[in-house]
């Protein structure tokens, strides 16, 4: 039985060499920033791809000389061909989901702030932490290389969407463009990413359970920590299943097995088994891939959004100057969402041909996620109710998160019903739904987190005026992009098509398509304001003190930026819950978690302090 104290195990001196300090660092703060940098790079790649796709949709035939040089196979003469469009769809989805929405919220902010918020000096396994980042980075390099290794005379990346549905993804070169080496690299990249995420998840859970400081009981943790913890549990349980599926898919492609390939396929004019280029395949099930993929894929959606929920709860409370409404309910709601997330994967497969009875079950379970989601939403509104809100940039983004989560979540209730999903499946309605709720909402959570914690990470404030311009253009922009997409979906515009010029029933939507593209380009350009703000503020921002937002949790008790061991060798002691704002009789309108109880509190008691568990 190990009973040694934290200090004895995890004291390590700050490294002095540049490489140990900034490159192969064991410091969770540096690793967190590395993850955020990775996401900041990956998101530019993903956004560039979405702009190319929008241009192709609204102004077909646009000539991009640079594309002709970079991708002679995908854009001959600079004009994107349909195959290249599909590979852009695939790469955009994969890069955004895995290398942006999974890395920044969890690997980035989680790594940086989870240990500090629970009063630990570092993660439980610093070396594993470093490895998980570098493994993830290798995965990113592999996915980027996928677009350049697609076989003979072509620079078209993998084609298969971020879901990589079999049998298309399982057949290999015979299945057409985008199914060669690029697809292998796509699978390998995902497998590498799985390993990196597993290492991270293991580390997060161990750290949170084992390394909380004196007084930091579970029910005194900030909601951010609960969100990161739940996310880590989801990652721990869902990534290994994707890894298993990925191994099988790779074997189908490389070892000639038929796990996901049914018999009697007639592909590219060849019947399976009648030609050496297409050896016989029989007995496999494409639906099996869908089951394995979505058993991972649905929890993955919550892996993306939960940290944003945590950050939003935290920030709303701080700037509403009120305790989080229903802290305990929030904790249970996070867990309920995480748990239910494992039982609803079938709602992605309503049209796959699975039994209508199981579709019914998945439908009911899916709709029941609305309950904990509503608990969270109403608790956020309850937190804001009657508050004297400080409308700082992080607060605006947190409110924006709530708005987007509701707007995107409502359509989840529509799509979760089998009868409605059947006509809407694979239309722009689905696209709009998940972009709003898991894409943009999580990104808003991360924007809020960036503006909120930037002063802690770099010791300087970000520019508020630039931040507010960034918020308003982005907020209005994303609604202008995605609300029209719901309409397009209802009209019947299908996802993933490179162009719609040949469909007469969609021609009347063309002005809307152009409108969306114009707004998308404006919104993407606005993001460079954010990048500028980041870089400018690191050097020129207003100096920030230890606690610029008058917040209560442990990260604000230490210097900005925190020293190597977070609390300069003195572990904080926690006496109360995380959100003690506007405590009656207190000298300030906020009480830090480290503040011992006063005599009056001991006698009189007050609203919100440390729940026991």
């Amino acid at each position: 039985m190990s009973v040694e104290t934290h200090e004895a195990v995890h004291r390590h001196e700050p490294p002095t060499s540049f490489i140990r300090k900034y490159i192969f660092s064991l410091d969770h703060k540096v690793i967190g920033i590395q993850y955020i940098l990775l996401a900041l790079v990956a998101v530019i790649v993903g956004m560039a791809m979405s702009v190319l796709m929008r241009m192709n949709l609204s102004w077909p035939g646009t000539n991009w000389p640079i594309l002709a040089t970079l991708f002679p196979g995908g854009a001959p003469g600079g004009v994107i061909n349909p195959e290249f469009y599909l590979s852009l769809v695939t790469m955009h989805g994969t890069i955004m989901v895995f290398f942006v929405l999974t890395t920044a919220p969890q690997g980035g902010f989680g790594n940086y702030f989870l240990p500090i918020q629970i009063g630990a000096e570092d993660m439980a396994f610093p070396v594993l932490n470093m490895l998980s980042f570098w493994v993830t980075l290798v995965g990113f390099i592999v996915i980027l290389s996928a677009i350049f290794f697609s076989g003979s005379a072509s620079t078209i990346g993998p084609i298969g969407g971020w879901t990589g549905y079999a049998p298309l993804s399982a057949l290999g070169q015979i299945a057409g463009p985008g199914q060669g080496m690029g697809m292998n690299l796509w699978i390998i990249s995902i497998a590498i990413f799985c390993v990196g995420s597993l290492l991270g998840a293991l580390n997060f859970i161990t750290t949170l359970l084992n390394m909380r400081t004196r007084g930091m009981s579970l029910m005194r943790m900030p909601l951010t920590c609960w969100a990161w913890f739940t996310t880590a549990v989801l990652a721990l349980l869902s990534f290994p299943v994707l890894l298993g599926g990925g191994i099988l898919l790779l074997l189908d492609r490389l070892a000639g097995t038929s796990f996901f390939i049914p018999g009697g396929l007639y592909v590219s004019g060849i019947l399976s088994g009648t030609n050496p280029s297409f050896p016989v395949h029989t007995g496999g099930s494409p639906i099996l891939w869908q089951h394995l993929f979505w058993f991972f894929g649905h929890p993955e959606v919550y892996i993306a959004i939960l940290p944003g929920m945590g950050a939003t709860s935290h920030i709303l409370s701080t700037f509403a100057r009120k305790p989080v409404f229903g802290y305990r309910a929030m904790v249970f709601a996070i867990f309920a969402i995480g748990l239910l997330g494992f039982f609803v994967w079938g709602h992605h497969m309503f049209i796959s041909g699975m039994s209508p009875y199981s579709a019914m079950t998945f439908s009911i379970l899916t709709l029941s996620i609305g309950v904990p989601s509503a608990v969270k939403t109403f608790n956020w509104l309850g937190t804001l109710w009657g508050a004297r809100i400080r409308f700082t940039t992080p607060m605006l983004f947190a409110i924006g998160f709530v708005s987007l989560f509701v707007a995107g979540g409502i359509t989840g209730l529509v799509l979760g019903q089998t009868s409605l999903d059947l006509p809407m499946h694979d239309t722009y309605f689905v696209l709009a739904h998940f972009h709003l709720v898991m894409g943009v909402a999580s990104i808003f959570g991360m924007f809020a987190a960036t503006y909120f914690w930037f002063p802690k990470m770099f010791g300087r404030m970000m520019s508020e005026s630039l931040g507010k311009i960034h918020f308003w253009i982005t907020f209005v922009g994303v609604y202008c992009i995605f609300v029209p997409m719901h309409v397009m979906g209802l009209v019947g515009m299908p996802r993933r098509y490179a162009q719609f010029t040949e469909y007469t029933f969609l021609t009347r939507l063309h002005p809307l398509v152009v409108f969306v593209s114009v707004v998308a380009i404006i919104t993407v350009l606005t993001q460079f304001l954010f990048y500028f703000n980041l870089i400018w503020s690191i050097f020129k921002g207003k100096k920030a003190g230890a606690n610029p937002w008058d917040a209560t949790t442990l990260e604000w008790t230490t210097a900005s930026p925190p020293p190597h061991d977070n609390f300069a060798g003195v572990l904080p002691v926690v006496y109360r819950g995380p959100y003690e704002f506007a405590v009656p009789g207190a000298p300030n309108d906020f009480v830090m978690q480290t503040e011992p109880e006063t005599e009056t509190e001991r006698v009189g008691g007050n609203g919100h302090n440390g729940h026991r568990h």
């Binding site: 190990s2 396994f125 390394m211 909380r212 004196r214 290994p240 298993g244 000639g256 038929s258």
Partner: protein, 226 residues
Amino acid sequence: MSTEARAVHFPAADWDGGVHPYRVGHRKLGMWLFIVSDSLTFSALLMGYAYLRASNVWPTPFPFYPSIVFSSVMTFCLLSSSLTMVFGVSASSRGDKILARKWILATIFFGVAFIVLHLIEWNHLISEGVRPFSLPAHWVSTFTTTDGKLPSPLFGATFFTITGLHMFHVATGAIYLSVVAARVKKLKHEDIEISGLYWHFVDLVWMFVFPLIYILSVDVGGHLAK
């Protein structure tokens, strides 16, 4: 709320810090979490196997001898290795690191014996003509149903994938235990216990693989021999 009122009287009462709250060290907890996640990888493969087996005509080609006898001896090796690992951890808990090392070496011996036997078994099947993508011709003719449905070539795919992944885990475990045996004097008892956790997990996986892959595919009527 009454709970809150009570909390006021016990500043930080329920968690004083300084010790691990669940009486388990970082590394041990980490190993448990790894085991949970790794068991899900195996679950994914076994569920896939169940799914494919249920939706196909599945050959049942394993004769009592050599396949089942062989795999039973393999199972016996793994079970013995778990027993020796228990003795090793127990010796280590008493502080007898030298004895612990001997038991761990015995564990490695049984683990390697398992791998050798398993490779012989693989070799046997491969020479009979089983491939990840096809069955031997005489299996196909034997197991084709009366209404003409062919047996699934996925037999080889699932067999080699699942037992292969398991064998990889045994091999990794043998290397891991070798490192533990070499450094046994420097390691804390908990570290030896952790290596035991991993080893028992690998054995436990086999206790699912053996019945699901081997026993369920026994050639009960002796069809192949006829």
